[in-house]
């Protein structure tokens, strides 16, 4: 009941290798089937994202013995030379494999520390494998534990709460003023890549209405169509600034396009309803003095970059707390694993003793001709009762006492002591 993990990620492999070793849904299903059909693994789960491809499994034999076979399989499956692939692959066994997965689910192993998407990807990978019958009791428990770790880290720490990009920092700041954005309106000045990124974040946060204003009408139409917004004619400030709560400016201009008097006029028309302005243009698109107007909040690229840096530091300071949750769940999983293994060992011992008892009685009772059939049955019954008593009590204690399971560190040693290879469960 060991666990093996073979994989690669953004730290060990360049993107050229990662893209060759990634799995789509069909490949995931086929790989899991082949690994089990070839007897390399009994339980399998493939986790494939843009930054990692990992195969988790429960091998029939020792995890260390199956790892080379798994590496070879990956090399063949993706037609990548094994010497190239081996440079990027990492292998983890048992405790380290569990710890690695829990760290992945917590977002501690992500390229962007604490990113939230990975938990959804782990959940999806588990759902897929489970639906296709590729997982068993060990991987089910392992991945349920991983999902719990991810959830706890997200609710009990602030690892994933702070925005880490200029665009997301701007959107989060808007939420500091307005709360949820699903009843809010946004105006985007400019239709370039930066505007697109911000619009994408605004859409993710459920912005109710989007207006696009750009010098080139075609590009504005394109962006508006892409995100379901409306186009406003360039320079129609009096109407354009009347309704939005958030304005994102990212246009190429030598002079600020949003001057103080334009915004002041708009604020008067809006009844001083709060306005959040994100100036992502360099040179700046919004006159800095606009920030002095009542109920107007202006943040430029430098302000947002500084916030991102502060957030990065804040996220890093949360790592020990997240790691603590990971460690707690690793111990919990290993304790469960040991309990299952110990109970299995006791069952194997019981089977062995029953067999021993049968041959023992046969050989010892042979000379005792004077015993009647009733006496023989009585002696057999007594021996059964004694063996049950010897094994039943420890088995019950193993099921009930966590501390005892923790103390028994090496189940393998116990197995070796009492059972021959043939008899091991």
């Amino acid at each position: 009941m060991e666990i093996v993990l073979v994989g690669l990620n953004h730290r060990t492999a360049p993107v050229e290798v990662r893209e060759r070793v990634s799995f789509n849904a069909e490949q995931t299903r086929r790989a899991a089937e082949e690994l089990r059909a070839r007897g390399i693994l009994e339980e399998t789960l493939v986790l494939s994202t843009c930054n990692r491809s990992e195969v988790y499994g429960v091998p029939p034999e020792s995890s260390h013995e199956c790892a080379p076979g798994l590496s070879t399989f990956l090399s063949e499956f993706h037609s990548v030379r094994s010497d190239v692939l081996s440079l990027s692959l990492y292998h983890h066994y048992d405790r380290e494999a569990v710890r690695h997965l829990f760290r992945v689910a917590a977002g501690l192993d992500s390229m962007l520390l604490g990113e939230a998407e990975i938990l959804g990807q782990v959940r999806e990978a588990y759902r897929f494998a489970h639906e296709h019958g590729a997982t068993g009791p060990v991987l089910n428990r392992l991945f349920q534990g991983a999902l719990e770790v991810g959830k706890r880290v997200r609710t009990e720490t602030e690892l994933g709460t702070r925005p880490m990009s200029v665009a997301s920092a701007g959107v989060k700041l808007a939420e500091r003023i307005f709360g949820k954005l699903n009843e809010r309106k946004a105006l985007v000045l400019g239709a370039g890549t930066i505007s697109e990124q911000v619009v994408s974040h605004l859409r993710d946060r459920g912005i109710a209405q989007l207006q696009v204003m750009n010098r080139s009408r075609d590009r504005a139409d394109e962006l508006a169509k892409q995100f379901g917004g409306k186009v406003v004619g360039w320079g129609e400030w009096d109407t354009a600034l009347l309704s939005p709560d958030v304005v994102v400016a990212s246009v190429s201009a030598e002079e600020p396009v949003l001057r103080r008097e334009i915004v002041a006029r708009a604020m008067a028309a809006r009844g001083n309803r709060a306005l959040f302005l994100m100036d992502l243009g360099v040179p700046r698109n919004i006159d800095p003095s606009v920030g002095e107007l009542y109920n107007v909040y202006v943040y430029n690229t430098d302000d947002l970059s500084e916030i991102v840096q502060q957030n990065r530091n804040a996220r890093e300071s949360e790592v020990p707390r997240a790691q603590g949750i990971v460690d707690e769940h690793v111990t919990k999983f290993l304790s469960w694993q040991a309990s299952v293994e110990l109970v299995g060992l006791v069952d194997a011992l019981r089977t062995k003793m029953r067999e021993e008892r049968a041959s023992f009685i046969r050989s010892r009772m042979e000379p005792m001709k004077h015993l009647s059939e009733t006496d023989r049955a009585h002696v057999e019954k007594l021996m059964d009762e004694m063996l049950e008593k010897l094994l039943l009590e420890p088995a019950e204690r193993l099921r009930g006492e966590k501390e005892l399971r923790r103390k028994i560190q090496n189940v393998e040693a116990l197995r070796d002591l009492f059972l021959s290879n043939r008899e091991k469960p």
């Binding site: 609710t155 009990e156 720490t157 602030e158 709460t161 702070r162 989060k172 700041l173 939420e175 500091r176 003023i177 307005f178 709360g179 008067a268 009844g271 001083n272 309803r273 709060a274 920030g291 009542y294 109920n295 909040y297 943040y299 302000d303 500084e306 916030i307 502060q310 804040a314």
Partner: protein, 270 residues
């Protein structure tokens, strides 16, 4: 006198404050929920502490200054809890609990005043006093929320966010919470004042209709009504409305202290 309920109350409020402060500091949702739970337990224990105090002194909780302060603390906690549950926002708890604790402890540690019973009594008078204290508690809450608004707004405008701003409620939510609180206060003070006049009327000449306390209370009613409409509909929304709310509460404090103690003929405390 049995000290079990006062001790339990102080303990529950302290734990609640600790949990809310931790929630504000770390963002851990569990600690926020525990803060609410302990506040609820504190409210129950506080209720029994008030009941016990009244039974011990054979009078109503608002008979003396300290009992009135304790009742004020209880109503403040109750109003806050209602507001927290209605707006689903816990980050303000750390700012409100110290006020509740101070009022409870100051009231409980002080000895009871031996005062003659007031001329007025009965259900109408009891509702008049309780609703007036509830109104002051709601205005106190609006005051705290407005101060938080002003602090957060200043941080957002100066771009000095630090760790705190990410955990505080959004500005518009703070405004809505403050307005909800003022609405509770307005309704309470309007009914409470009306019941007060009914009580005076029943006393048939024992009290004058002209008392400075009445004037200031009616002024408060007007000021908070003005705040309520300005904050929702005009160019005053935002920091200006919050400043008006802070100013209004200063009048409340004036009404409670200088007017209540020295200039009113018919009111002891509230």
């Amino acid at each position: 006198m049995n000290h079990l309920f006062p001790i339990l109350t102080a303990l529950a409020y302290l734990l609640s404050f600790g949990m809310y402060a931790r929630f504000l500091g770390t963002g851990n949702k569990l600690t926020g929920r525990l803060g609410t739970l302990f506040l609820g337990l504190g409210l129950i224990a506080h209720y029994f502490a008030l009941l016990e105090r009244s039974r011990g002194l054979h009078t109503v909780p608002y008979h003396d200054l300290y009992g009135s302060m304790s009742l004020f603390g209880w109503l403040l906690a109750l109003t806050y809890l209602g507001l927290e549950l209605y707006h689903r926002q816990r980050s303000v708890g750390a700012f409100v609990l110290p006020f509740i604790l101070v009022f409870f402890l100051a009231a409980d540690l002080a000895p009871a005043d031996r005062l003659s019973p007031p001329a007025a009594h009965g259900a109408t008078f009891a509702f008049h006093v309780t609703l007036s204290i509830l109104a002051y508690a709601a205005f106190a809450l609006a005051f705290v929320l407005s101060l938080i608004f002003l602090g957060e707004e200043r941080l957002l405008r100066s771009h000095k966010l630090g760790n705190m701003v990410w955990r505080l409620p959004p500005l518009e939510l703070l405004e809505r919470m403050s307005q909800s609180s003022v609405l509770v206060g307005l309704v309470s003070i309007a009914i409470g004042t009306a019941l007060g006049f009914v009580t005076v009327d029943r006393l048939e000449g024992q009290h004058s209709y002209f008392d400075l306390k009445y004037v200031i209370t009616l002024l408060l009613l007007v000021l908070y009504t003005v705040y309520f409409f300005l904050a929702r509909t005009t160019a005053w929304r935002g920091a200006r409305a919050s400043k008006l709310c802070v100013f209004n509460f200063l009048i409340v404090v004036l009404n409670f202290t200088v007017v209540g103690f020295f200039l009113s003929h018919s009111h002891r405390y509230f």
